[in-house]
């Protein structure tokens, strides 16, 4: 059976690549490919080691950081069960494989095989991205090390997803069925709590001293016997990356390989849970595809009352904006995010008046960091716009609307949602520092900054969303339209490169507004003092508005000219 799966995987991948390469006959796609290659070349050249060969990353530090990151990824999988997408079969796969003479174990092997292509590609990308860091033996061995690490991680999160599904579907019966996994997990959690409690006094003491002491204390905490046992699986996944000689690499690889094989056995033996999880994930995938890639509520689940009412009159394309906002308000993830942010806001505001205030302060900085990060990462993840609706291009094109109004409404919905999340995070940060009298900038300046963010974030986010929607319109055959958000630990490398490319484009777009705003401020400040901020901000906003209107007009024309069949957009 493995040959059949290999054939299906290989031919599907090959035909997909051939189909995408055919697009290169279009100058637009060819130009994008050349730019992409130049970008990758820049990454490789830019990442060439500049330090001497002897300067290496301390293996202990690498092990500590790497193991912590892997622990975070594993914990995320257990808490959120995010690996469902690996289980999702396409409607064709369900038709041919589920009803065919294929065992459940065979189906798991097929899905794991398909994931391998993605993991291999991303292992190569990570090798490129990390090529500046002088650790590991050689680039090729590093590819193998990263492949083993990503595969193990992927298997683990898949296994965790099985356990979660089994428990949620069958409760006590599921718990009995998954008893071994649960006992191991329980023992790990107890030991972890014990270990943290044991090391906490030293860590708190180190925290009150200088920064480097804290890292040393962390390393010491990780070195305690119990912590060493707990972090051992994570360390052995990292060690091949840190090896400095072939012998060292070989010695560190086999435990990592053994761990990977153990995970494989664990996952492949999870056939019952797999069947349930796969069925659920496939159903979600099928409905998500039908809805243009937005995850949909379970059948039978009553929709919530509309939070926003659509008025009978007004801008016609406003209906599209409303539709996308409705989709967001009816998503469980969005609702839980809103509730969590509101609750967190109340808690940190109360905590901020505590004389120690450490917890509120940490939450404040985290929220601030997150809000800033979302300027770059947000447009890739908030996708209730053309990227979700392009699979319904037929329907959109039949509406009596000009292209520019469709583009504006679609991008506007995502912009609004992203801005709301950022403003909530900034508000959270503001509340966290509310009782802090010593922080610079002071309360008045912080209030002013918060108000300024309300003015500047929407146009910046709109430009970001227009770039993302423009990419989907320009390259529908290459950009993922519909079918959910990009994600998963396997394609972290791809996502990282995409985020960097997007940040560069957004930065380019913001150069002129920033130059105009900054330049006018410098010119006017000697004359009118701080009041120069007002015309400068106005000028920057005007420039962003002009850029956005130009992009909306251009993308609108593109929308009107896009032929769904020629562009390869098929439902």
């Amino acid at each position: 059976m493995i040959e059949v799966f290999g054939y299906l995987t290989w031919r599907s991948a090959r035909n997909r690549i051939v189909r995408q390469l055919r697009q290169l006959r279009s100058p637009r796609y060819l130009a994008a490919l050349l730019l992409g290659l130049a970008y990758l070349w820049f990454v490789v050249i830019g990442q060439r080691p500049t330090t001497s060969a002897t300067a290496t990353v301390d293996p202990k530090v690498l092990e500590l950081i790497g193991a912590s990151a892997l622990f975070g990824a594993v914990a995320w999988g257990w808490i959120f069960g995010v690996e469902r997408r690996v289980l999702a079969f396409s409607p064709a796969e369900v038709t041919f494989l589920f009803s065919g003479p294929v065992s459940r174990q065979g189906l798991i092997q097929f899905k794991l095989l398909r994931t391998q292509l993605l993991i291999l590609f991303n292992a190569l990308l990570w090798t490129l991205i990390l090529s500046r860091e002088r650790f590991g033996v050689s680039a090729w061995l590093r590819v193998i090390s990263i492949w083993v690490m990503l595969t193990t991680l992927s298997f683990h999160r898949l296994g965790a997803s099985f356990v979660r599904t089994s428990l949620s579907e069958h409760g006590r019966l599921g718990a009995r069925h998954r008893s071994v996994s649960l006992v191991v997990l329980g023992a790990f959690l107890v030991a972890l709590v014990w270990s943290i409690a044991d090391a906490l006094p030293e860590l708190v003491a180190a925290r009150q001293q200088a920064g480097s002491n804290f890292l040393t204390a962390m390393a010491a905490a990780f070195d305690r016997p119990l912590a060493r046992v707990l972090t051992y699986p994570f360390r052995i996944m990292i060690r091949p990356l840190a090896a400095h000689s072939m012998a060292e690499w070989l010695a560190s690889l086999w435990p990592a390989l053994l761990l990977m094989v153990l995970h494989y056995v664990w996952v492949v033996r999870s056939d019952t849970a797999f069947e349930e999880a796969a069925a659920e994930a496939s159903l979600q995938r099928a409905t998500a595809m039908a809805s243009g890639g937005i995850s949909v509520p379970a059948t039978g689940q009553r929709p919530r009352r509309a939070l926003i009412r659509l008025s009978a009159s007004g801008w016609p394309a406003g209906a599209i904006l409303w539709k996308n906002l409705m989709a967001a308000t009816r998503t469980r993830r969005m609702r839980s995010t809103a509730v969590s942010l509101a609750l967190a806001g109340v808690v940190v505001a109360v905590l901020s008046f505590d004389p120690e205030g450490t917890l509120a302060e940490a939450a404040g900085w985290l929220a601030l960091f997150w809000a800033g990060l979302m300027v770059i990462s947000g447009p890739q993840y908030v996708r209730n716009d053309l990227r979700g609706d392009l699979l319904k291009l037929d329907l959109l094109r039949s509406y009596p609307l000009r292209g520019w109004s469709v583009v504006l409404a679609e991008a506007g919905a995502s912009t609004l949602m992203l801005t709301l999340i950022q403003v909530a995070l900034l508000g959270l940060s503001y509340l966290a520092f509310l009782g802090n009298q010593t922080l610079y900038p002071g309360l008045e300046e912080r209030t002013l900054l918060l108000l300024l963010s309300l003015v500047f974030l929407p146009p910046i986010n709109l430009l970001g969303m227009l770039i993302q929607n423009g990419a989907a319109l320009l390259y529908p055959a290459w950009v993922r339209v519909g079918a959910g958000r990009p994600g998963g630990v396997e394609i972290l490398g791809q996502n990282l490169l995409m985020v960097i490319a997007f940040a560069l484009l957004l930065g380019l777009t913001l150069i002129i507004p920033a130059a105009l705003g900054g330049g006018s401020y410098l010119l006017l400040r000697p004359g009118i003092g701080d009041w120069a901020m007002l015309p400068s901000a106005g000028l920057a906003l005007l420039a962003m508005g002009y850029e956005a209107s130009w992009m909306v007009e251009w993308l609108g024309g593109l929308f009107e000219r896009t032929d769904p069949v020629a562009a390869g957009i098929t439902t």
Binding site: S291, P297, S311, S313, A319, S398, L401
Partner: protein, 246 residues
């Protein structure tokens, strides 16, 4: 009401539609028939403004589709064979959404009657995920007809409907035509075409091979006069042979 002149559509080097010209007046029902790949769907989707023709001119209710697409699209409704619905909007919200798009004002008072007509009253607050395929199709049709289009384009309109739905669909099409709507429908169901279409356009490899009412087409081909409609169709597209010869 619908005027098509010299419609050409190329996909790369492949001609999907070649030099198609026809018109459909108010009250007429034109049936597009032809084998798979004949260009029926491309023709309908070009008239709906979804596909951009390589050349040719399309006019809907007096509006040039290229020069004034918003007015032209505002006068037509396109109902595809697969109902495209938004998974997060309820049945009623779909109707309100369409009303806003087509500037229909407050359709609230009309909604209960419309839903009752479609047997969807108890599904008013349901999401598409809770509807059967037939119900989804009904909702898509209701959305298409809400703005009383002057031109109605239907691609395989009976797909997925049960016998009651089929009868209702046919009577809806005929009633709309009787009220002055120009209707174009594409279908493989020849009995449907024979029953409700006033004229037929038979397509083969992107070209029109016959156009007119069934008696007009038979008048041009006396050799086919005594044959069943299915045989006439097969003969017109060059697949006839002697099959079905009485």
């Amino acid at each position: 009401m619908i005027q098509v002149d010299g419609l050409h559509k190329l996909y790369g080097d492949f001609p999907a539609v070649q030099g198609l010209s026809f018109s459909v007046g108010g009250g007429e029902v034109l049936g597009l028939v032809g084998p798979n790949g004949a260009g029926k769907t491309t023709t309908i989707r070009s008239i709906a403004g979804i596909i951009i023709p390589t050349s040719g001119r399309i006019e809907v209710a007096g509006h040039d589709l290229k020069a004034d697409p918003v007015a032209a699209k505002g006068a037509l409704a396109f109902i595809p064979d697969e109902p495209h619905l938004f998974e997060y909007l309820t049945v009623e919200e779909h109707l309100r959404f369409v009303a806003r798009l087509y500037r229909l004002g407050d359709v609230g008072p009309r909604i209960p009657g419309l839903l009752a007509e479609l047997d969807l009253s108890d599904k008013r607050h349901a999401l598409p995920g809770e509807l059967s395929r037939g119900m989804k199709q009904k909702l898509a049709i209701a959305c298409g007809l809400l703005h009383d289009p002057k031109a109605l384009l239907l691609d395989e309109p009976l797909t997925g409907l049960d016998p009651v739905g089929i009868r209702r669909m046919k009577s809806t099409i005929m009633r709309r035509a009787a009220e002055g709507t120009a209707v174009i429908l594409s279908s493989h169901l020849l009995h449907l075409v024979e029953e409700i279409c006033t004229r037929v356009l038979v397509m083969q490899r992107g070209r029109a091979v016959a156009f007119g009412s069934i008696p007009e087409i038979l008048a041009e081909r006396p050799d086919l006069r005594s044959r069943k409609l299915e045989d006439v169709f097969l003969a017109l597209i060059g697949q006839g042979g002697d099959a079905g010869q009485p």
